[in-house]
């Protein structure tokens, strides 16, 4: 472990504040320790078998496949997320708040449901094909394989980039752009030279979340018949090879650490500062309708395809109902309750880690921050089992209670809060809280009254990410929920898995509605001080 007083290259900040370092370290430890179960379990695999498993040719091949998938999806997410963020924050796009909510919502659709809907709609004998058949359309472009996997994963993960970028744009000082414009920069030049550096840490944070999500996602590549690395893990799980599956998950973590290290290396100098003033939005002019069309297209494809497919099931599957699956409002309440608790807990836990990493960059603070990403990169089932082990062995009183469930969610989604927060802290000019200190504020007073309001968009953006993804979390929920505790997503799963597709529709609509409403609340909050 690095020495405590070491300071980073880009830093220049004074010494490491002890309390903050301890808090940050404690958070990192809390989210990493349960993962030690993976090491313990993997060690139960014989050495020869382990070596053979890790080095077999297919492993290399699927790794390459995963790498291609991660790269393409991340690039595509930036291509969707950044323009959408810009349109909804910086331009006079009509109904901006509406679009903000709508284009965030794909995040609550579990990507495997999205994948399944896309296959049902656009597969070789899917609904869309049947619709077009009378027009003489014999076949649609192949949906399976890499293109389908990239399409679906992009549609359901670009909100990571959208939400983090949005927060950065929101708290950006736009007078800088005006200054650039007065210096005869074109719009594009001023975007490139002023806006891009300002939002780069946030885009990077969102891209990292996307990349790691794609790396550890299983359902989508499987349904799209694309051989990604996670497939190998679940073949083992499916054949009761829990130990080998765990070993392979460790391999996944190793790749994650590699990505995290690489990302740290290319981060470069991210210190940008801002005062947080923003002028009038940029008029879109003749681009208004194309821009509206773009936002509408993304939202339509990502949201209406799955909903449309579900709806055809509802319309045609009226007979397929089961009394045991009657919808209860309590499910929605449960979902919101655990998601809100997780968002709150993750934000609180993320504050010291993100602040330390941004304001006191050192090898130690960076290790703490990066460590919180490990849980995020572990497939949900594996993380769930790790907590099953810790809960049943060392924390029996909270095993199969909401406390452990929320803890699991925090481990899974903490980086989403931290990524967004850290990017925001980086944009706060250190001179501002210092000025407050000179005016007699205590350090915590300066933090509360100056820094916190400035990072509010990032804080709420991060909370929103955690909230939305917790709403859809399934594998860990199934393993750790209290007996009899159902959420919207577990209910959708129950109905869906047993072929009562019609009964999955109502909760799916409620999931979107409740999430949309919550997003609206979050968005209203974030703007309270940064106008």
């Amino acid at each position: 472990m690095a020495t405590e007083q070491q300071t980073g290259t880009g830093g220049g900040d004074d010494e490491q504040p002890l309390g903050l370092t301890v808090a940050s370290g404690a958070v990192a430890a809390a989210v990493v320790v349960p993962l030690l179960w993976l090491v313990k379990t993997a060690l139960e695999v014989g050495f020869a078998e382990a070596l053979a498993l890790v080095t077999r040719p297919t492993t290399v091949e699927v790794f390459l496949n995963s790498a291609v998938l991660v790269t393409l999806v991340t690039a595509a997410c930036i291509g969707l997320g950044v323009p959408l963020a810009y349109l909804t924050v910086r331009t006079d796009l009509p109904f901006r708040r509406f679009w903000t909510v709508v284009v965030s919502l794909p995040l609550v659709i579990p990507s495997y449901i999205g994948a399944f809907a896309f296959v049902s709609a656009f597969g070789p004998r899917g609904a869309f094909q049947r619709l077009l058949a009378p027009l003489g359309v014999e076949s649609l472009p192949e949906i399976y394989g890499l293109p389908g996997a990239v399409l679906v994963l992009t549609l359901y993960t670009y909100p990571y980039v959208f939400i983090t970028t949005r927060a950065a744009l929101k708290s950006m000082d736009t007078t800088l752009i005006d200054a650039a414009r007065t210096l005869n920069h074109t719009r594009w030049e001023s975007f490139k030279r002023v806006t891009v550096p300002q939002i780069r840490p946030a885009v990077a944070a969102g891209s990292l979340l996307t990349a790691l999500y794609v790396l550890s996602d299983f359902g989508t590549p499987a349904i799209m018949k694309f051989d990604a690395f996670t497939r190998v893990i679940y073949v083992e799980f499916g054949t009761f090879g829990r130990d080998t599956a765990t070993l392979l998950s460790l391999q996944l973590i190793a790749v994650t650490l590699l990505i995290l290290t690489l990302e740290s290396q290319i981060r470069g100098d991210e210190r940008t500062t801002t005062g947080g003033r923003s002028g009038s939005p940029m008029p879109l002019g003749k681009w208004k309708y194309p821009a509206l069309g773009f936002a509408a297209l993304v939202a339509t494809v990502a949201l209406l395809v799955p909903l449309g497919i579900l709806f055809t099931w509802l319309a045609q599957g009226v007979a397929a109902t089961s009394g045991s699956l009657a919808f209860q409002p309590e499910y929605a309440l449960n979902s919101v309750l655990v998601a809100a608790a997780t968002a709150g807990a993750a934000t609180l836990a993320g504050l010291p880690v993100a602040y330390l990493a941004a304001r006191h960059p050192s090898r130690l603070s960076s290790v703490f921050e990066r460590a919180t990403y490990v849980g995020y990169a572990v497939p949900g089932v594996v993380l769930g089992l790790a907590l099953v082990y810790f809960g049943s062995s060392y924390a029996t009183p909270i095993y199969q209670t909401l406390y452990l469930l929320v803890f699991a969610y925090v481990i899974r989604f903490l980086p989403q809060a931290i990524g967004s927060l850290r990017a925001s802290f980086l944009r706060v000019d250190p001179a501002l809280p210092e000025a407050a200190r000179t005016l007699g504020e205590t350090p915590s007073g300066a933090f509360r009254h100056v820094t916190l309001p400035l990072v509010a968009p990032g804080l709420f953006g991060g909370a929103a990410l955690v909230f939305l993804t917790t709403m859809k979390e399934l594998p860990a929920t199934l393993l750790l929920r209290p007996s009899g505790f159902s959420t919207l997503v577990t209910h959708i799963w129950t109905a869906y898995e047993q072929g009562y597709f019609g009964q999955a529709v109502v909760p799916a609509f409620i999931l979107l509605f409740v999430s949309g409403l919550s997003m609206l609340v979050i968005i209203t909050q974030e703007g309270y001080d940064v106008k």
């Binding site: 599957g317 089961s322 047993q498 072929g499």
Partner: protein, 387 residues
């Protein structure tokens, strides 16, 4: 309309299962679970008889469920039971409520997830597992817990309720309901005597040329091929598959569609689980569709859903008595009505026009737990060019 609905749902489900099967795995992360296809439609209708559980009514008219052993004749259940159920709430929920209401002092804490994940959970919990009983959609998951040494002997009062083939030879788990492999055939084209009773004879039966269908991506079909590999060997299975290909077998997305094509006369015969035929007959009582069985071979395998008592059960007696209740006449009738599954207790008839459980002749000496290992089969199907 009704058919389109089924087709759509069947189609979608096939995709789902195709994925699962192609991977040769039992469960995807949280997104598939009770991989096998059992759970389906309950048609609501009038309730009625005292002994019947739930309001689901047989589409084939009133049923007599006087056979088997009634709940009333079984030891009372009291106390609290933690049930890890790999069978979904849609199927088991009503049954659980029935038992809880039947006894004043009995509570069940159910935990639903896919069978495979529950096995992983139980193994991870180790000796701290709160689970008393594990209820699974397939024999493979039961076998996995047995192999891990996590089971207890079931008393003979439980095991004796079903035939020997349908419980673990060492008495560690018992089947509770089942699905039979069958040959749906079109009665306008064939007599039952025209269908060979030896599955291996199918590729040489000229009457099937360009007139037979299968659903090779479907997990139950693959389990059938797995059984053939176990019983007849790899080479014979390869030849059989090749022979069927040469015969011009038509591929369908799932076995509901196979059965439907047979009912429509599009093909004369096919391979399907028994309940698909009954589902079609429930909707179209006059369809020219009937069920044939092969004898003592892979074509007549009978796979079960079942239950076991865990070594961590707080009260072994309560747990095994609960498993016994799953074999009560009421529960057996409930499985038959809810999913068209085969009751395993003789005396409780299956739904529709099917022979009773004692008239079936599944192959002997086949370990049902082997049937969930589909990986080698998927490989073989790919080699032969079926997939």
């Amino acid at each position: 309309m009704q058919e389109r609905d089924r087709e759509l749902r069947g189609h979608s489900r096939r995709r789902f299962i195709a994925t699962t099967a192609a991977l040769g795995v039992g469960a995807l992360a949280g997104c598939t679970g009770g991989d096998e296809e059992t759970e389906t439609t309950t048609e609501s209708g009038t309730g009625g008889e005292v002994e019947q559980i739930g309001s689901g009514r047989s589409p084939f008219g009133d049923r007599d469920i006087s056979g088997g052993v009634s709940v009333a004749e079984m030891p009372d259940l009291s106390g609290e039971l933690t049930l890890y159920s790999g069978r979904g709430k849609a199927l088991v929920g009503e049954l659980i409520s029935f038992f809880e209401e039947y006894y004043d002092d009995f509570t069940i804490r159910p935990r639903y997830n896919s069978a495979t994940e529950l096995v992983n959970q139980i193994q991870t919990e180790g000796q701290n597992s709160p689970a008393d009983v594990f209820f699974s959609v397939n024999a493979g998951s039961l076998g996995a817990l047995k192999d891990a040494g996590r089971t207890q002997d079931l008393p003979s009062e439980v095991l004796d309720l079903v035939r020997d083939e349908f419980h673990d030879p060492d008495g560690q788990w018992t089947g509770t309901s089942g699905r039979a492999r069958t040959v749906p055939f079109n009665t306008d084209q064939f007599d039952e005597s025209g269908i060979p009773d030896d599955i291996m004879a199918f590729p040489d039966t000229e009457a099937f040329r360009d007139n037979i269908g299968w659903a090779p991506t479907y997990s139950s079909f693959q389990a059938f091929i797995t059984a053939m590999r176990v019983l007849e060997g790899e080479e014979a299975t390869r030849e059989w598959l090749q022979g069927m290909q040469d015969l011009g077998v038509t591929e369908y997305n799932d076995e509901f569609l196979v059965s439907q094509a047979v009912a429509d006369g599009e093909i004369g015969a096919g391979f399907a689980n028994h309940y698909y035929i009954q589902r079609i007959l429930a909707g179209r009582p006059n369809a020219p569709l009937s069920t044939a069985f092969t004898a003592g071979d892979a074509g007549s395998i009978f796979n079960v859903a079942g239950a076991l008592v865990l070594d961590t059960a707080d009260d072994s007696e309560l747990a095994s008595n609960f498993v016994r209740h799953l074999l009560s006449a009421e529960a057996q009738d409930y499985f038959a009505r809810t999913t068209f599954e085969y009751p395993l207790v003789s005396g409780v008839d299956p739904i529709g026009e099917l022979p009773g459980i004692d008239e079936l002749s599944p192959p002997e000496g086949l370990d049902l737990t082997q049937l969930s290992d589909l990986e080698g089969t998927v490989e073989l199907l790919r080699e032969v060019g079926v997939l």
